[in-house]
Symmetry: C2
DNA sequence: GGCTAAGTGTAAATTAGCTGACATTTTGCT
DNA sequence: AGCAAAATGTCAGCTAATTTACACTTAGCC
């Protein structure tokens, strides 16, 4: 009942935002991303780069297919996963996008051969998007932003390389531990050594992220639970002592 | 004997280059990289971005450690591999750098925690380098270059992601086939469907690249040889019909 | 030319982790 | 409340690939 009340409040809040300060909202939504902090209000507004704003709720699938004009997206709220379907029909989790992350064709190259979609994991998400071409113009006019953006893309690359290295040299257990540590680091609420993570992933999702089968992930998670390293349920994950992972 | 003669000639050639047109050489070495084509002679010269030029021969190990000022490198000639040593002392091949490739801290972020070195694979290599800070300045002054560079980094990322996907979903055999196809594509000399690749890698190198054990790689290569898909030796790899891979 | 080290060939034992095949639990929905 | 679907738990059998272990071959060097 309490949850429902809050939901109503949020809705109300959104309506106010939408109807009374939509222009400003656009602005702030980009503005509070670290990449765009160096830009002035007028720069963002003037360039008019926000051309889309979308809300969606849990389980929804969002296609950002290549048939459309190429876009870059910014996840303002919630969590989504990017899933790729390969030729054999296998689904792979390409990425987990969290609040504040940019996603889409970050390389600024349109490539239409990959079949990808996004699936909403949290209760609801809001996404804003802008045209890749507009963004390119903006980068051309703001070398500092271009440099930041390059570093940003580079950081993403470094993360991927890191995962890659883990995948090669470490076993499933180590990968799970590493994943949990990373997750805790990024989103966990710390209280001393105890960390609580809001769990919007299924065990299957986790399995896919650390590149193992669902069964193996389940086994490992249960093993951790019996060793009291973890308290897992569908809503949250409690790690009593993060240093023990 | 013929090889030696050519080597002498090359040396002579280098000396001429070095003593009579070193400034121009610097220029051209960067100039003929696709990234830098948009820049004028004066831009490259004026910015004075080449601050290093180095030659090395087979087997040599080049450290580009973080103790030094951060640099970006351009491999002008030959092939090298980038090897990372992790905490457990395991060596992993991070990258194979081919003629014309940029390498080093492409993300423009100095990160000193990783222990990496480069090992020369081909008979000899020449490498030029410039300071990361100079490069950043250049990017700031040339938004078009910055954009190209971002796309370039993005492309690298995409390749890595692709490898990652292969590693996850395909078995060692498929990965080897894919690797050979890629290699042939990049460096092979085609003659109809026959491709000849100059082989500067050991089977151990190949194994590491496709993330398997040396023994498995050997077995697979021999299997391919008995199936007449391949003719492997230490100097070159002949693929009689690339379409059959 | 002969020695050493690096690279290659081969095979058996072992194993991590996948597959498939279920039972059980939880969630969302009408 | 009751049902279907999704998520989780568990286990036996199987398989690809690693490990270990050793023989052989080639390349580089004094």
């Amino acid at each position: 009942m309490k949850g429902f009340f809050i939901y109503e409040l949020k809705l109300l809040h959104l309506q106010i935002e939408t109807y009374f300060m939509y222009e400003d909202l656009k602005y702030w939504y980009l503005r509070d991303h670290k990449l765009f902090r160096i830009l002035s209000y007028s720069q963002i507004k003037q360039l008019c780069i926000i051309t889309g704003f979308k809300k969606a709720s849990k389980g929804e699938i969002i296609y950002f297919s290549s048939s459309d004009v190429p876009r870059i997206f910014l996840l303002k709220k919630g969590n989504i996963k990017i899933v790729a379907v390969d030729d054999d029909g296998n689904e792979t989790i390409k990425d987990i996008i969290q609040k504040g992350d940019l996603f889409g064709e970050l390389t600024l190259e349109t490539d239409n051969k990959v079949e990808e979609y996004a699936k909403v994991l949290s209760d609801d998400v809001s996404i804003c998007s802008f045209l890749m071409s507009d963004f390119e113009d903006l980068l051309l006019r703001n070398p500092t932003l271009a440099l930041s953006y390059t570093k940003f893309v580079g950081l993403k690359m470094k993360r991927i390389k890191n995962n890659y290295a883990n995948l090669v040299s470490k076993d499933a257990k180590t990968r799970l531990y590493q994943f949990l540590k990373d997750w805790a680091e990024q989103e966990g609420v710390k209280n001393g050594n105890t960390v609580i993570i809001e769990n919007y992933l299924t065990q299957n999702d986790i399995a896919q992220i650390i590149c193992t089968s669902r069964q193996t992930a389940t086994q490992l998670l249960n093993e951790m639970e019996t060793n009291q390293l973890l308290d897992y349920n569908r809503k949250q994950i409690i790690i009593p002592d993060i240093t023990k992972l």
